[in-house]
Symmetry: C2
Subunit: 309 residues, 2 copies
């Protein structure tokens, strides 16, 4: 891998689609994936193994996972909220599965109706289930949500986050994700926390998952880059939103994130013009949904070329 | 002045209003100013001394300047495009006047129908006119527009910008502003250029004037802070836009900029809740104009307190 490589993982099919009114067909979801791969974006979180009665959008998660695995060049992953979801993801044949728990106990209770401690213990069970099934080739990542603050609990201690990261690493996590679930992070906080996280993780990959709820999403990407983070989650057209802040924007926008990273001299391998084309297609499938993003409005600078610095 | 002080200058009455359809009354403009001062924002670019036939919004620039000078606590300034505009600003009694020229000769020709060299010579004439009129107490600042690239010419050389800064300083500029007029700047570029600018300016104040056209406005503020810049222009509600990119957003948003700076541990002296109230009032005066901004949509984080770090 080059020194200046940055990885952008598309989470619009998961974090984005869980917020929209329209249920996409399995075929549309897979077409979105195929087009992303053609645009150079090969890491996609394709679905979430939550109970369909909670999020009907993901009733087809098995089919999406199996279809995604058949797309050449794609590395599909999925989010799982618990052991049952993880077993479904393993069963579908996915080689990359992400588990998430909240640093804020209050948020964790609201999100999955159990304490952070119980969710942490469940990660141990999921890891054990993976190993007992002889699926050690499956990468099992773990994310810490509300790592920069919580709309319910407010302040979240850095040590709470770092202790969880240590536990997840000790339990065998193959990737650590640090998520600003509610858009509370600021650049100074990101730079400080991510430096400390990277001291703990060693060679384990670390991903930042930012929301742009309060306008600081891309500024936080720059701060994370400064700290040494090279992996970012983002959503095409900023699709999504925030269940805790109506009218607010959601994940950082994939097109704008790629634009920023390439402008900062990083190489993502992703073609922004192709992303804009996919954005138009996906938007046509989701009438009434807000698609945000500055590059879609204003276009690339005349001075832009990939990997600029 | 404290070490952690950052200055936010409101330019919505100038850069914002020059783009809108509705002409505000002089009384409305002055009420906007009064309310900003009450919110703690005491630096306001209140008008532009351009010919009224070019920008009818500024036909009342004399009255606005005189009215603003009568507001206790306010330090009003105005933009001037040429000697004639400067003489009108001096005549109105303003103690702070900003001149601007473009690093891109093509942009300068389009903007003021003369070359950058001719505009640079005119700054000398304006400075001489000020001194001959015995107005040495008037601060005469100079801004370099399209300092990070140009929608017409494309790339702008760093040395072109730095040579202009040297010339403006030698001619006696009391402030240097570096403007990303078209929203082309990226954080790496900002950090690098602003470090070099600050090496030249010594004790002369330096202001960054960013547009959020391509979503990197606040990320660029963080980069400029890193470089040592402490003065920023911004516009309430991001009012304005970009004449060169229809549908694009304009100046960085004042509320979001104050939120970012305070989150980064800087002290602006400005009350964000009061800004949001003024935003609502100004928006009611300007039907149909786009007011953008993340804090207005999502609210402040529960964890926010001024000067956080």
């Amino acid at each position: 891998m080059q020194d200046n490589h940055a990885q952008v993982r598309e989470v619009g099919l998961r974090d984005g689609l869980q917020m929209v009114q329209t249920i996409l067909s399995t075929q549309q979801k897979l077409e979105w994936c195929r087009r992303m791969v053609a645009a150079g974006c090969t890491e996609i979180e394709v679905t979430s193994f939550v109970p369909p009665r909670i999020v009907p959008q993901f009733a087809d998660s098995d089919e999406v996972a199996r279809g995604a695995l058949a797309i050449a060049g794609l590395h599909p992953s999925a989010l799982v909220p618990n052991l049952k979801g993880a077993q479904r993801a393993f069963g579908a044949g996915l080689k990359s599965v992400h588990y998430v728990l909240s640093a804020s106990n209050e948020h964790n209770l609201k999100n999955v109706r159990r304490s952070t401690k119980e969710s942490a213990e469940d990660f141990y069970n999921i890891m054990a289930a993976r190993d007992e099934s002889g699926l050690r080739d499956v990468k099992l990542g773990a994310g810490v949500a509300t790592a920069f603050g919580c709309t319910i609990a407010g302040h979240v201690d850095e040590t709470t986050v770092l202790d969880l990261v240590e536990y997840l690493l000790k339990t065998g996590a193959d990737e650590i994700a640090i998520a600003d679930t509610v858009g509370y992070a600021n650049p100074g906080q990101v730079r400080q926390l991510m430096r400390k996280v990277l001291e703990l993780t060693g060679t384990t990959p670390v991903t930042c998952h930012f929301h742009d709820t309060r306008g600081l999403g891309l500024a936080n990407v720059v701060a994370a880059l400064d700290a040494g983070v090279r992996n970012f989650d983002s959503s095409l057209g900023g699709l999504g939103g925030c269940p805790f802040a109506p009218n607010a924007t959601g994940n950082i926008n994939t097109e704008d994130t790629v634009f920023l990273l390439e402008s900062e001299g990083m190489s993502t391998g992703i073609d922004i013009d192709a992303l804009l084309e996919i954005r138009g297609i996906v938007a046509s499938w989701l009438p009434g949904e807000a698609f945000v993003g500055a590059i879609a409005r204003a276009g690339l600078p005349k001075t832009f070329h990939a990997g600029m610095a």
